[in-house]
Amino acid sequence: MAAVREAALPLDLARIRGDFPVLARRINDRPLAYLDNAASSQQPAAVIDAVADYARAHHANVHRGVHTLSQEATALYEGAREKARRFVNAASRSEIVFVRGTTEAINLVAQSYGRPRLAPGDEIIVTRLEHHSNIVPWQMLCAQTGAVLRAVPIDRRGVVDFDAYLAMLGKRTRIVALAHVSNALGTVLPLADFIAAARERGIATLVDGAQAVAHMPVDVQSLGSDFYAFSAHKMYGPTGIGVLHARESLLAAMPPWQGGGDMILTVSFEGSTWNHLPHRFEAGTPNIGGAVGLGAAIDYLGRIGQARVAAHEQDLLEYATAKLSGIDGLTLVGTAPVKSSLVSFTLEGIHPHDLGTVLDSRGVAVRTGHHCAMPVMDFFGVPATTRASFGIYNTREEIDALHEALLHAIRMLR
């Protein structure tokens, strides 16, 4: 109920836009319409300032020095970990591992959880709509262990076939790795159902949450996932920092995947002992400033309220879907009934790459290409799509600008 009441209050869009310095830019003599948030979102001044303030006043190495700056840096870094814990409602800070991003988190799980456990003939299940980062680490693991990678089919709307998924879960299934939200199509998976089915069979689950956390509240305890990965730069934070949430019982049994400083308790030439969780998985000096920026981004989203963000973005999705559907020769790619706020499409007679150039000339930033999801493009029989993905600061007027630029491209090129 609290969430419903919160969502009922509209966002103060003018104020939010004022929080993001880059939105004041003009591109090719037009106001910037930044519609590429699924690739990377922009940063509010609160994030930029937090990172700069850390560098100006608090920087030192963490977990080491007794001097004041080191203690301040450690407090900021571990404070960010606590913010990340609350952000996804993890049971403890020991379950929050800082990584470079979602990709590194998935590689960590593949190599540290998967590699010692998998045997020839074991199966890893992903879906047809995964980003390459939730395919390739598993292919590498399969090459190392003899395990087999299988993909759950999708339908023409981009909905993952739940019955086919259930039928694929078998005695040899060891890991299920799922996107929470498809980056190429926007499909939101009914994750709780997918995870419950795997858990009933004792199968470990990993969720690629890169496209989810900025757009909806995530609670890893209610989801029941074993691993949940996300990146700061898709949720208004800086690049180069992300989070792997891992269930503590699993993490405790996993060997380190990188060796170095900070991940050990003792080192001698006879052998070394590993540090406590989660530090065992954070070899070397971490991205302290990045973690501070992530913490600031979490605070920022928290102040605005994720339910309100979701309501605003769903309004943009509905507006964009209706507006773009009226364009002659435009085909939406990805029409799942539950979608996050992005539209992927093709335009008859105009290649996405040309479209990207024409839209840029009108100040409209979109992504064109295969979106690091080539199996999805293959499924729909297209080499590429154009994708407009919305965020907290986007407006209906920017969708109008997109619409107008698309009509311009048609006049020019078709």
Binding site: H353, T357, S361, G369, M374, P383, M412
Partner: protein, 146 residues
């Protein structure tokens, strides 16, 4: 940045109606070109007799720039010797990378001059030329009579 300079009439025309598109059963040389940035693929069939490019056809392609460039290239090198084709490629390359060019020498190919103002698109225009180079460098394949 002036879009009209990129999408000149000649480019738009060759994109809408590409010349020499299709298969060439009599081809002696073939090559595939990839542009991983946009996922485009180009297949080139070339019929070389002695030193002369007798004929060529292309399939695939993608964006307007890459399609128009392949179409314009096919017209420009047909009937030319390998050395003449290499010379034209050199001139096109200088034009695309901004080292100046001779519009008279390039003829219709000069329509691609606007591409140099769009660095992200230079590869679209040069893909077909690299593919032609690869085809010409390759071993001649046996010609079937079918």
């Amino acid at each position: 940045m002036d879009l009209a300079d990129l999408y000149r009439d000649v480019i738009v025309d060759h994109n809408r109606s590409p010349r020499n598109r299709g298969e060439l059963p009599a081809a002696t040389h073939h090559a595939d070109g990839d542009n991983p940035l946009c996922g485009d693929r180009l297949h080139l069939d070339v019929d070389v007799a002695g030193d002369v490019i007798r004929d060529l056809r292309f399939q695939g392609g993608g964006c307007a720039i890459s399609t128009a460039s392949a179409s314009l290239m096919s017209e420009a090198v047909k009937g030319k010797t390998r050395a003449e084709a290499a010379e034209i490629f050199g001139a096109v390359h200088r034009m695309l990378t901004g080292d100046g060019y001779d519009a008279a020498q390039l003829g219709k190919l000069a329509a691609l001059a606007g591409v140099r103002e769009f660095p992200a698109r230079v590869k679209c225009a040069s893909l077909c030329w690299h593919t032609l180079n690869a085809a010409l460098a390759g071993e001649a394949v046996p010609v079937t009579t079918e």
